[in-house]
Symmetry: C2
Amino acid sequence: MLILNHDDPRPLYVQIYAQVRERVLTGKLPAEARLPSARDMAAELGVSRNTVESAYQELLAEGYIHTKARSGYFVSTIGHEVPPAPPQRTAMPSRVPRTRYTFDFHPAGLDPVSFPASVWRKYYLEHLRMDEPLLARYGDPQGDPALRASLRDYLERSRGVACGIEHIVICSGLQHSLDMVAQLLRGRCMALATEDPGYPLPREVFANHGYEVVPTPVGPGGLDLAALEASTCDIAYITPSHQFPLGEVMPIANRLRLIEWARQGRFIIEDDYDSELRYQGKPIPSLQGLRPDGNIIYTGTFSKILSPALRLSYMVLPPSLLAEYHRRFLFHLPGAALPEQRTLAAFMDNGHLERHLRRMRAVYRKKRQALTAALARHFGPKAEVIGQEAGLHVVVRLMGEPRGEAERTKLAEASGIRLLPFSIAHADGRPADEFLLLGFGAMTPEQLDQGVRLLFDISYGPEPRSH
Amino acid sequence: MLILNHDDPRPLYVQIYAQVRERVLTGKLPAEARLPSARDMAAELGVSRNTVESAYQELLAEGYIHTKARSGYFVSTIGHEVPPAPPQRTAMPSRVPRTRYTFDFHPAGLDPVSFPASVWRKYYLEHLRMDEPLLARYGDPQGDPALRASLRDYLERSRGVACGIEHIVICSGLQHSLDMVAQLLRGRCMALATEDPGYPLPREVFANHGYEVVPTPVGPGGLDLAALEASTCDIAYITPSHQFPLGEVMPIANRLRLIEWARQGRFIIEDDYDSELRYQGKPIPSLQGLRPDGNIIYTGTFSKILSPALRLSYMVLPPSLLAEYHRRFLFHLPGAALPEQRTLAAFMDNGHLERHLRRMRAVYRKKRQALTAALARHFGPKAEVIGQEAGLHVVVRLMGEPRGEAERTKLAEASGIRLLPFSIAHADGRPADEFLLLGFGAMTPEQLDQGVRLLFDISYGPEPRSH
């Protein structure tokens, strides 16, 4: 018979429900067995009839029992027995190692205290207060119109991107944009050329979507256009303002040649991920602006210039894809959180983005100088810095006979140094013994110096000294 | 010659850069033409030599010009001429109509003043204050571990879902989860069965990913399992707690039969989108809990029970897919904003979610009663309410000879009524003249009564009276 536990926090009717359910599932109460009437069971258990009725109603709703007219409750035929499965509680380590690093050379690391929190908070709270129904809405699936309008003007002003607000789609990160592009181009395109060495995420997204991915070499002007033109690729993913990771700027001749290549139904994905962070001269104008009516999908993000935690990014679709976008994403909903979108729009409209960028350029220029000085100081002629005075990372070519990449990575981890191996940029993952990929955004000049000194020991010295 | 405009807000070096650039692009300055030395141009324009040098450095960086040793600057061969393209400024209407509706019967409409803003704000600000580096980080790609831990306990307690935190992936909405599932199952599965009538988003996502989509009829117990078993489908998308839109609960016998179907390498996507909003009895336990080690992908969201604007949702992957998930999403980044994730974890840990849910059940129960009372009052025997006492919508079967769906939708729009046609749930989009799909979440009882009265006129009456 059922046993009720009055110390159990669960209501009595839930206990009755659970015990009957278990007996039905395990076959202890066979199909068509008749249950006691609610009155009888209530009397037997010493509870109210309503309590039993509530339990019976649940069991009825879920199909464990059924009624026969005026005859009472009967167990239903459920077809299979179900042994109770124990809940799994083992907590496996998540992918991000929980180690707190003393030195963080991750190429996407930002200055940890630079987020304009008080200004952000001010606009965020304003929106929460002023527009209470804001949180009850989904918002425009393409992204908040106010944000898209601010972004349109900003992109024209600072990146030379020419578009209407109807071409802008607010996203929650590059992978969201690329997911949409992969869906958008299905049936039209089949093979994506990626820069090799290059950013690994596009390879992963398009491979996941069933596209052929063709890693294509990178030369002094960025993507090797002869190799591209000789291939069967119909999409090219490029980082022309600041090639990741080697830093090349794609010169105008190559840009025009690439635009010409894209004319016959091919597409360019221009990933302008950190172009505002340029410390010598002004940011390189976008490729998109050279042919706004061409087949160029332009993507940008706030993850490098503002915050990666907010998941705010965008893409500008070419006119040729706009109708297809609306067709293929008719029932889709926004990707990015609406309060964040509105806050960002206000932040931009009041000039804070450009103020923040000016400040961050100064901060990151100083950090880059500290890194290159530390490299000169500790590596001397053994390290050659590759890349532009831009972005949040440099690549270092190691001369002589450094330790291999795998060993360096292990020693770094053991020394509390977060060091991403350059080989993540290789499509085939082959080790890059001669290259270091060093982010400088997350550390102070002092930390950079100490970290670089340890890196020298890791690369060339005996076992690193403890710190 | 170049003409500088001292009233132009752009710096002089930018003007020089822009004008030389334009001449190179349009061919006015042909390839290999020699530019004046910086000193000569500076003298001619009446600016400093540094100003001209800055412009030349930009042009050099972008490949418009090149230097020959000690000979000066020469125009580079760019290969194509580029006529300047005018910026597009026409603002086309975005997909969400800007009309403010007087009556909002959208099935996903929430009570506009119910969001627990002050509590949310409190935890949000706490996190901004306490953890300044929070905004400089991406966070765990699988979702914040604190949130996943809170969610794990909540899901076990309230939904009978059995899993470890390693099985939970925080997402930014159902479409994000389904995008990932579609990528995860590529190569393994090819055809998705969807409920018909049913929620349109899964059809769209999987079709975009190149899967075959097989709309499958819905009967009294939800998805028609005989039809499913007779098909070649290897994935089934279901809403077993509260079928959208008809409201059926899938009984236990069907659940077990479906789990048996999924054993041979097939998968079930259980979308538990509004199960906590049940006004009679307690929420139906998840299908996942019947076989946590089976091939069931469980998805849930905070869009109905908390806020659709925050873009917070989750999925629980079965153990059989965990390794593949890590393999296919190695370089992926989080979908949901990190401050929101942390705030939600604190909100849940302090009991606010369950408090909020209790409050909202009372609110929505009352609204549903107001709706059904209004239907009885204004439609009488012409309207039969279909569906459970659950969720945020009902379906009404219209008796007699109502106006056709297309006409009703048009009249509703003209009367300031937001009315989603039931036919969005039909895979083939065929009109559903006999059904109304009515959300009740967004209106007060008074508005529901007035709105329903107008709906009667729209469905049966002469032209609706103006209101």
